[in-house]
C-alpha cells in the first residue's frame, strides 16, 4: 500500500510534468499576420509584387467575361458564362459580382500599400514603388469607370458615378507620375481615363506624351501557371484565364471568335506547361487610336489618317507567335458550322480565317489588323463616319482578347446582388442593379455574334456590323466619347 501511495505521487508529478512538456492544447497558427507585413523590411516590394499578381487575377475576372459579352467571342458551349453573351446582364450573376470584387480587391490592396505597407517599410519606400501603387489604384478606378455606370469606391460606400471614378483614376495616375515622371503606363492610363471622360485635349496631350516617352510601349499582365490555385474566378487563379477560354481544350470547345476576327485568335496560347502567354494591359497603339479618334471628332480626317498610318507602322513592328493550334476546333460538335478554312471570305474580305489543321498558325501577339493604308485613304474620302467605322474596326482587332470591346460598344455591368444587399446605399431594386443598355444594343442582343455561313460556297456574312452601328449612334453617351 505504501508503495502504491508513493507511486501515485510519482504519477501525479509525472503527469503534470508531461503536460508541460507536450501541451496538447497548444496550437500554432501557420499563417502570417499584420505584424509580419507592416513595418517589415522590403515589405513594400513584396506588396508591389502582390499588386502585379492581383492585376493578373483581376484581369482574369473581368476580361473573359467581357470578351464573351462583346461581339468578339461567342460562347457556343462552354461552362463559361452564357448569359452575358446575349447582353443579359443580371445582378444575381456571380460572374458580375466577381468582376466587381476584382476591382475592389485591386483598389484595396493599392490603398493598403499606399497607406500602410509603403510608409512603414524600414528598408525604404522608393518613388518607383509609390508610383506603382498609384498606378494600380488608377487602374482600379479606370476599370470601375469603364465597366460600370456607377461603383462604390470604398467598402459598402456610396455609389460613385462613372465620371467620378474616371476622375479618381486621373488623380491616381497623376500621383503616379508625380512619383515617377517617366511612368509611361500612367501616361497611357491617364490618356485612357481622359478618353472615357470625353476630354480630348487632355487625352491627346497624354497620348502624345506617352508616344514621346516610348513609342512602342507595352505593359503586360503577366500570368503564373506554376503558382496558381483554385478555380478560374477564385482569389488565387494566376493562370491565364483568357488562354484557357480561347485555346486550351480543357474547357470543352473553346470560345469562338467572330469570323472577321478569326485571324487574330488565339492571341494567347499555351507556351509550355509552365509558361502562359502575357496579355497587354496598356500599349502605345492606344495613344494613336486616341489621337486619331480626337482628330475625327474635330473633323480633321487627314490628321486622323496620319495617326492611323502611324498606328499601322507600329503594328508592323509587333511580334507574332507561330504555334500548332490543330487541337482547336471551329465548332467541333457541329462540323461545318463555322468558317474554318482560309478559302472563306468574310463580309467579302479574304484572309480573315486561318487553316488550323494544316500546320502551325501565325497570330499577332500584341496587335494585328486587317486594315491597310489604302483603306485609310479610301475612308478619308468617304468621310467622317467611314473613318470612325474603320477606326472602331481597328480598335476591335487591336484590342481583341484584352477585354476592351465591352466598353467600346456601350456595354455596362450592374451592381451585383451581393453588393446591393449588403450596402445600405444601394439595396434590392436600386437602378444600378438593373441593366440599362442603349437601345441600339438591346435591338440586336441575341444576334451580336451571329453570321450566315455557306460552307459550300466558302462565304460568310456577319449579321450585324457592330462598328457601323456604333458609329450610327456616335452621339449616344454610351459610345464614342469624343462625339
Amino acid at each position: 500500500m505504501k508503495l502504491a501511495y508513493k507511486s501515485g505521487l510519482f504519477a501525479i508529478a509525472l503527469a503534470l510534468a508531461s503536460c508541460e512538456a507536450a501541451d496538447p492544447f497548444e496550437t500554432v497558427n501557420p499563417n502570417i499576420g499584420e505584424s509580419d507585413v507592416i513595418g517589415v523590411a522590403n515589405s513594400s516590394l513584396a506588396w508591389k509584387a502582390g499588386l502585379d499578381r492581383q492585376m493578373a487575377i483581376t484581369f482574369n475576372q473581368i476580361a473573359v467575361l467581357s470578351e464573351i459579352a462583346s461581339d468578339n467571342y461567342d460562347n457556343t458551349n462552354t461552362f463559361f458564362n452564357q448569359f452575358v453573351d446575349d447582353f443579359n446582364i443580371q445582378w444575381q450573376d456571380n460572374d458580375v459580382n466577381v468582376a466587381h470584387r476584382g476591382i475592389g480587391r485591386l483598389r484595396e490592396k493599392a490603398l493598403f500599400g499606399l497607406n500602410e505597407v509603403g510608409p512603414n517599410d524600414p528598408a525604404g519606400y522608393s518613388d518607383a514603388t509609390r508610383a506603382e501603387y498609384n498606378f494600380y489604384l488608377g487602374i482600379a478606378y479606370l476599370y470601375a469607370g469603364e465597366y460600370y455606370n456607377a461603383l462604390p469606391q470604398e467598402n459598402k460606400g456610396p455609389l460613385v458615378s462613372k465620371s467620378d471614378n474616371l476622375n479618381a483614376a486621373v488623380n491616381a495616375f497623376t500621383a503616379a507620375l508625380a512619383a515617377d515622371p517617366s511612368h509611361v503606363g500612367a501616361m497611357l492610363g491617364r490618356a485612357r481615363a481622359y478618353y472615357r471622360l470625353g476630354d480630348d485635349v487632355n487625352a491627346v496631350s497624354d497620348a502624345n506624351a506617352a508616344l514621346a516617352a516610348d513609342d512602342d510601349y507595352v505593359r503586360f499582365v503577366q500570368f503564373d501557371p506554376v503558382n496558381s490555385s483554385g478555380n478560374n474566378n477564385g482569389f488565387d487563379y494566376t493562370k491565364n484565364n483568357m488562354q484557357l477560354a480561347l485555346q486550351e481544350r480543357g474547357g470543352f470547345d473553346d470560345l469562338q471568335p467572330l469570323p472577321t476576327l478569326d485571324f487574330l485568335d488565339p492571341k494567347v496560347y499555351s507556351i509550355s506547361g509552365s509558361q502562359d502567354s502575357d496579355i497587354p494591359l496598356l500599349k502605345a497603339e492606344e495613344a494613336h487610336l486616341i489621337i486619331a479618334e480626337a482628330a475625327i471628332a474635330n473633323n480633321n480626317l487627314p490628321g486622323a489618317a496620319t495617326a492611323m498610318n502611324n498606328l499601322l507602322a507600329l503594328i508592323a513592328t509587333r511580334p507574332s507567335n507561330t504555334f500548332d493550334d490543330s487541337t482547336e476546333d471551329r465548332s467541333q460538335r457541329d462540323p461545318g458550322g463555322r468558317p474554318d478554312t482560309s478559302a472563306v471570305t468574310v463580309n467579302g474580305r479574304a484572309g480573315l480565317v486561318l487553316d488550323r489543321k494544316a500546320g502551325p498558325v501565325t497570330v499577332p501577339a500584341i496587335s494585328g489588323t486587317s486594315a491597310d493604308a489604302a483603306e485609310i485613304t479610301a475612308a478619308v474620302t468617304a468621310g467622317e463616319d467611314a473613318m470612325l467605322t474603320l477606326l472602331y474596326r481597328m480598335r476591335q482587332e487591336i484590342f481583341i482578347a484584352e477585354g476592351r470591346r465591352f466598353a467600346d460598344i456601350g456595354l455596362s455591368y450592374v451592381i451585383s446582388e451581393v453588393e446591393a444587399l449588403q450596402n445600405e446605399n444601394i439595396g434590392a431594386g436600386h437602378p444600378s442593379t438593373i441593366s440599362s443598355l442603349p437601345a441600339f444594343l438591346t435591338a440586336i442582343a441575341t444576334e451580336a455574334d451571329e453570321f450566315d455561313y455557306d460552307a459550300a460556297a466558302f462565304t460568310c456574312t456577319v449579321t450585324h456590323d457592330l462598328n457601323a452601328i456604333i458609329v450610327a449612334n456616335k452621339a449616344d453617351d454610351a459610345v464614342c466619347p469624343f462625339h
Binding site: 501515485g8 499563417n31 443580371q90 485591386l106 480543357g250 444587399l421
Partner: protein, 940 residues
C-alpha cells in the same frame, strides 16, 4: 488544462493502488433456449459489481466471483437472466428470445455501458451476426441499409471514394452530414471529402471512411445528433458512429479462416449508351482472405485478425488492394484494474480513372455525347473509338496509397463496487499519398495537345498526414436509495487533430518519369491545420422504480478555433423516459401477448459544430508569383467566431406487441442550428475574402419510424422483417441578412443557401411554357432539393433450422431532385435525351443556361443493396474444421429509380475539405458495381 491534469493524476493514483478479496472461478456455457445453439457475446456480469466478461464463439465463459455471487446474463435479442452461482463451478444457462430492445446495453459514448431503458434518446445498432454476414469491405458499405435512421448514398463506383451519410438532415452549411466516428472510444479520421490539397481527378473524391480498419468489428452503434450527442461536444451535431471491436475471451483458443471470391461487374442500369459498357466495362475478380485467432486466459487474452483483399475493378483500369490487421489484448491487471487495447493497421492502394468534371474523363465523355450517339456508330468507327478509349486508359496513371494506424487503450478501474473510473486514450494516424502522372502521351491521346508535344507532361503529388489524439476520462457512480437509483457521470474529454498536407506539382515532366525530379519546374503547396477541442461534463441519471428515468447533463466545450472573446460554451441536456408497460395498471390492462411494451421518452439537448481552424484570425498570405514572394490579404478574421449550436428536442415512444414479436419506435425531432456557420460572400467593394461567421439559422424537423416483426418463430423457421421511414424537413430560417450563396454545383445550375429554402437547394433558370406557346424564363428559380425529405431502409431475414439464413436488405428515398449534367453535355453534341427539352423552350432560350430546369429530375429510388444466403455446415471432417459456413451474396443487385441517372452518384462529390455536400449532380460518374461474392468460413 489544469483540471484535466488533475483528473488524469487521480486516475493514475488509482492505477497504482492495490486491494484484494476472496475469489472463486466459475465457468459455463450459454445457449439459446429455443434452438440450443451456443450464444456468443453474452455479457456475464457479477451482480452488484462491475465485474463482467463476455461469452466466446462457443457460448463459453469463465469469470471470477466473490462469495454468494449471482450472475446476470444479457445479450441483445434475449431476455436477460440472473442465476445464483451457489456452489457450482460450471453453469449451463439458457436464454429466452426477446425482441424488445428496451434492455439492450449500449455504450453511448462515455465508455461505460448503460441499459437502454435508462436513456431517453434513440440508438440504432448493428450486431455481430449482421456484421459477420456482410461481405462489405468498407465501413459505409457495411452500414448501408442497416441503420434504420441513417442514409448512406454511394457517390461513385471508383475505389476509395466517399458516401454521403446523413440522418437528421443537414444541420450545417459548413460541414457535410458525416457523423463523428469512434473506434473503441477513440476518435478516428472521418474526412469524407477530398483533402484541401487533394487531387480532384474530376470529381471522385477520396474519403477517409473508405479505409477505416475493418477487422474484428463486433458491434456498431449510431446515435443521431441531439441530446444523445451533447456530451461529445465539439462536432457531434451530425451524430456519432461508434465501432466496438472484439475482445478475446479467456480459456478458449480459436482459429478462424475466411475466404471470399467474387465477380465485380459494372452496372448498366443507368447508362445512356449500351456501348459505354462495351468500351469500358470488364468483369473483375475480387478475392479476400482472412485469418483470425484468439485465446489466452481469463486474466489475459488476445484476439488477432488479418485480411487481404484484392479486386481488379469492373472496368479496364481500376484495381484495389486492401490489407488490414488488428490485434487486441485484454488484461485483468488486478482485481480492480482491467486494460484492453488494440492496434490496427490498414492499407489501401488503388488506381483511379478521371471522372466527370474534367475533359479527361473517359466515362463522362462517352456518356456525355462527346463522340455522338455511339450506339448508332458503325462498327469500325466504334472499334476505333474503343481502341482510343483503351489507349487513354492505359496511359492514365492516377494512384492513391493509404496507410493507417489506429491505437486504442481502455482502462477500467473499480474504485469501489459502485464507483468506476474509465479512461479511453488513443490515436488514429492516417497517411495518404495521391499521385497523378500526366504524360505528354496521355494528353496527346486525349486530344489536348498536338502530336509531338513534349513540354506538357506533369506530375501532381499530394500527401496528407492526419493524426488525431483523443482521450476521455470519467468516473461513474451508481447508488440506490429505496425506489431510486442514481447513475452519476463526471468526466473530461479532449482531442487534438493535426492535418498536414503537401502538394507538389511538377511541370514539363519528361515522359517515362514518375519522379518529379525530371521536370523543368516544381511548385509546392502546404496546408496545416491543427485544432484542439476539450470539454468537461457531468451527467446525472435518476431512476425511479426502474421504470421512470430522468437524465440531466451539461458539457462545457472549448476549442482552439474559437475567437479570442469566446470562452467555454455550455451545452445542456435533459431527458426523461418512462416504461409505462411495467406499471401494474398496464399489466392489468394488456397481457404480454397483446401490447407488451411501451416506453415513452422525451429530451432536449444541444450539440455543436466547431469552426474551421484559424478562421477566427486576421491573416495575410505571401504566395509565390513569378519567382518572388507577393503579399496578399487573406482571411479577414472574426473575434466572435464560435461553434454553431444545434438544439434538438424530441419526443418518442418504443412499443412492442405480442411478446415483443412486433416492435417499433417512433420519434419526432425538431432541431434548430443557431449561429450557423455560413461563409456568405463578402461584398465585392470590400475586396476581401469571405469570412466564416455565425450568422445563420437552420431548422430540421422530422419523424423517424422503425418497425420490426418476427413473422415466423418456430423451431425450424424464423422470419423477421424490418423497415424504417424517415421524414426530414430542412429549411434555412435565416442567413443573417446576407445574400444567398453557392455551396456547390455550376454557374448554370448551382446548389445555394437562401432564406426560406432547403440548404443547398438547386437554383437555376426555370422555363415555363405559356398558353400562347411563348416561354417565360425565370432566372434563379427553385429547381429542387438534393436531400430527399423521405428515406428509409427495409430488410428481411429468414432462417431455416439454424442452418440456412437468407436475407435481403435495401433502402429507398423519395422527394429529392438531381441534375442530369451528362445530358447537358449531350445537348451540346445534339444527342440529348429525346423529349426532355420542349421545342418551344429550345427555340426561345438564349443559351443552355435558360434550359437548366429541364435537366432537373426527381431522384426517387428503391434499391436492393444486398441479397445473401449463408449455410452453417457445422463441424466437418470429424471436427477438424469447426463452425464451417458457406455463403453467397449479391451486392447492388436491383435498382428501381425515377430518374434517368443514378440518384446515388454525385460526380461533383465533396470537393472542399470537410465541406458541405448535398450531392445531386449526376455527372459522368460510374455507379457502384454489382458484385457476386462466395464466402467460405471455418474454424480450427
Amino acid at each position: 488544462m489544469k483540471s484535466n491534469a488533475t483528473l488524469f493524476s487521480v486516475l493514475l493514483l488509482m492505477l497504482f493502488s492495490f486491494a484484494g478479496y476472496a475469489q472463486t472461478s466459475v465457468s459455463g456455457i450459454v445457449k439459446s433456449a429455443e434452438t440450443g445453439e451456443p450464444l456468443p457475446s453474452v455479457m456475464v456480469t457479477e451482480v452488484g459489481t462491475d465485474n463482467v466478461v463476455a461469452t466466446n464463439f462457443d457460448g463459453a465463459f469463465e469469470i471470477s466471483v466473490g462469495s454468494n455471487a449471482s450472475l446476470e446474463f444479457k445479450v441483445f435479442g434475449s431476455e436477460p437472466k440472473t442465476v445464483a452461482v451457489g456452489n457450482n463451478d460450471f453453469l449451463v444457462v439458457e436464454l429466452e428470445v426477446n425482441s424488445s430492445t428496451i434492455d439492450e446495453v449500449v455504450v453511448t459514448g462515455q465508455g461505460i455501458g448503460i441499459n437502454k431503458r435508462r436513456i431517453s434518446t434513440t440508438i440504432s445498432s448493428i450486431d455481430a451476426a449482421d456484421i459477420e454476414r456482410s461481405p462489405a469491405v468498407q465501413l459505409d458499405q457495411l452500414i448501408q441499409s442497416k441503420l434504420p435512421n441513417a442514409q448512406i448514398r454511394l457517390s461513385s463506383g471508383q475505389p476509395g471514394t466517399a458516401s454521403i451519410i446523413r440522418s437528421r438532415g443537414p444541420v450545417s452549411a459548413l460541414i457535410n452530414t458525416t457523423p463523428v466516428i469512434f473506434i473503441d472510444g477513440v476518435r478516428v479520421d472521418n474526412l469524407n471529402s477530398n483533402p484541401e490539397l487533394g487531387i480532384s481527378s474530376g470529381g471522385a473524391q477520396s474519403s477517409a471512411i473508405a479505409d477505416i480498419p475493418m477487422e474484428s468489428i463486433e458491434r456498431i452503434e449510431y446515435i443521431p445528433g441531439g441530446a444523445a450527442t451533447t456530451l461529445y461536444g465539439a462536432d457531434a451535431a451530425n451524430g456519432v458512429l461508434q465501432i466496438f471491436t472484439k475482445r478475446g475471451s479467456g480459456g478458449q483458443n480459436t482459429v478462424n479462416f475466411e475466404a471470399q471470391i467474387g465477380s465485380i461487374q459494372g452496372t448498366t442500369d443507368f447508362l445512356k449508351f449500351d456501348r459505354t459498357a462495351d468500351a469500358l466495362f470488364e468483369p473483375g475478380l475480387m478475392q479476400q482472405y482472412r485469418i483470425g485467432f484468439g485465446g489466452g486466459t481469463r486474466n489475459f487474452n488476445y484476439q488477432f485478425s488479418g485480411s487481404i483483399y484484392e479486386d481488379d475493378g469492373f472496368n479496364d483500369l481500376n484495381t484495389q488492394v486492401r490489407r488490414n490487421l488488428r490485434l487486441s489484448v485484454f488484461s485483468q491487471v488486478n482485481t480492480r484494474l482491467s486494460y484492453s487495447g488494440s492496434v490496427a493497421y490498414s492499407n489501401l492502394e488503388f488506381n483511379r480513372d478521371y471522372n466527370a468534371n474534367t475533359s479527361y474523363a473517359r466515362f463522362g465523355n462517352l456518356e456525355g455525347g462527346q463522340f455522338g450517339d455511339i450506339d448508332a456508330m458503325d462498327d469500325s468507327t466504334f472499334n476505333a473509338l474503343v481502341d482510343q478509349i483503351r489507349l487513354e486508359g492505359e496511359l492514365t496513371n492516377f494512384t492513391e496509397n493509404i496507410n493507417r494506424f489506429q491505437f486504442s487503450n481502455n482502462f477500467k478501474y473499480n474504485i469501489t463496487s459502485n464507483l468506476v473510473a474509465a479512461l479511453d486514450l488513443g490515436l488514429d494516424y492516417r497517411n495518404s499519398t495521391q499521385r497523378e502522372v500526366g504524360t505528354n502521351a496521355m494528353q496527346i491521346a486525349k486530344g489536348f495537345f498536338p502530336v509531338g508535344t513534349t513540354d506538357q507532361g506533369y506530375i501532381i503529388d499530394s500527401d496528407r498526414n492526419f493524426a488525431v489524439l483523443s482521450g476521455n476520462l470519467n468516473i461513474q457512480h451508481t447508488a440506490e436509495a429505496g425506489d431510486f437509483s442514481f447513475l452519476t457521470l463526471v468526466g473530461g474529454q479532449f482531442f487534438r487533430q493535426q492535418d498536414v498536407q503537401q502538394a507538389i506539382t511538377a511541370l514539363q515532366v519528361v515522359d517515362g518519369s514518375v519522379s518529379i525530379n525530371n521536370s523543368s519546374s516544381q511548385q509546392a503547396e502546404d496546408f496545416y491545420s491543427v485544432l484542439t477541442s476539450y470539454g468537461m461534463y457531468v451527467n446525472e441519471n435518476i431512476g425511479f422504480r426502474d421504470r421512470f428515468f430522468l437524465d440531466v447533463g451539461l458539457r462545457l466545450d472549448g476549442n482552439s478555433a474559437f475567437g479570442e472573446s469566446v470562452g467555454l460554451i455550455p451545452l445542456p441536456k435533459v431527458g426523461a423516459s418512462y416504461i409505462v408497460s411495467e406499471e401494474s395498471f398496464w399489466k392489468n390492462t394488456f397481457s404480454q401477448s397483446s401490447w407488451s411494451t411501451l416506453k415513452l421518452r422525451a429530451n432536449y439537448g444541444q450539440a455543436s459544430v466547431f469552426p474551421t481552424a484559424f478562421a477566427n484570425l486576421l491573416t495575410f498570405a505571401a504566395p509565390a508569383y513569378l519567382g518572388s514572394s507577393s503579399f496578399d490579404f487573406d482571411n479577414p478574421g472574426d473575434d466572435e467566431l464560435r461553434s454553431e449550436i444545434t438544439s434538438t428536442w424530441e419526443v418518442g415512444a418504443d412499443v412492442g406487441f405480442f411478446k415483443n414479436r412486433v416492435y417499433g419506435g417512433i420519434t419526432y425531432y425538431n432541431t434548430t442550428t443557431n449561429g450557423a456557420l455560413f461563409t456568405p460572400p463578402a461584398n465585392p467593394s470590400s475586396g476581401q475574402r469571405s469570412q466564416l461567421q455565425n450568422v445563420g439559422e437552420i431548422s430540421n424537423k422530422g419523424w423517424e419510424i422503425s418497425l420490426g416483426a418476427e413473422v415466423i418463430r418456430t423451431e425450424k423457421h424464423r422470419l423477421s422483417v424490418n423497415a424504417s421511414y424517415n421524414y426530414n424537413e430542412n429549411v434555412v430560417v435565416s442567413t443573417g441578412g446576407t445574400p444567398e450563396f453557392a455551396v456547390g454545383g455550376f454557374t448554370f445550375l448551382g446548389a445555394f443557401v437562401k432564406e426560406g429554402q432547403p440548404l443547398g437547394y438547386l437554383r437555376g433558370t426555370q422555363g415555363t411554357i405559356n398558353g400562347d406557346g411563348t416561354v417565360t424564363f425565370t432566372q434563379n428559380a427553385f429547381l429542387g432539393t438534393t436531400f430527399a425529405p423521405t428515406f428509409g431502409t427495409f430488410s428481411m431475414s429468414y432462417t431455416y433450422d439454424n442452418k440456412l439464413t437468407v436475407s435481403v436488405a435495401g433502402d429507398y428515398q423519395q422527394g429529392g431532385q438531381g441534375v442530369n449534367v451528362d445530358d447537358v453535355l449531350r445537348f451540346f453534341g445534339g444527342v440529348n435525351d429525346e423529349g426532355r427539352l420542349p421545342a418551344e423552350a429550345v427555340a426561345e432560350a438564349g443559351s443552355f443556361f435558360d434550359l437548366a430546369g429541364y435537366w432537373v429530375e426527381d431522384a426517387n429510388y428503391v434499391k436492393i443493396r444486398n441479397i445473401s444466403a449463408t449455410y452453417q455446415l457445422g463441424d466437418l471432417f470429424d471436427g477438424t474444421l469447426t463452425r464451417a459456413s458457406v455463403g453467397v451474396s449479391l451486392i447492388n443487385p436491383l435498382n428501381f429509380v425515377s430518374s434517368s441517372f443514378d440518384p446515388d452518384v454525385t460526380g461533383a462529390g465533396i470537393a472542399d475539405q470537410g465541406g458541405f455536400g448535398g450531392g445531386g449532380f449526376a455527372f459522368g460518374t460510374q455507379s457502384a458495381p454489382r458484385m457476386y461474392v462466395l464466402t467460405l468460413k471455418f474454424g480450427l
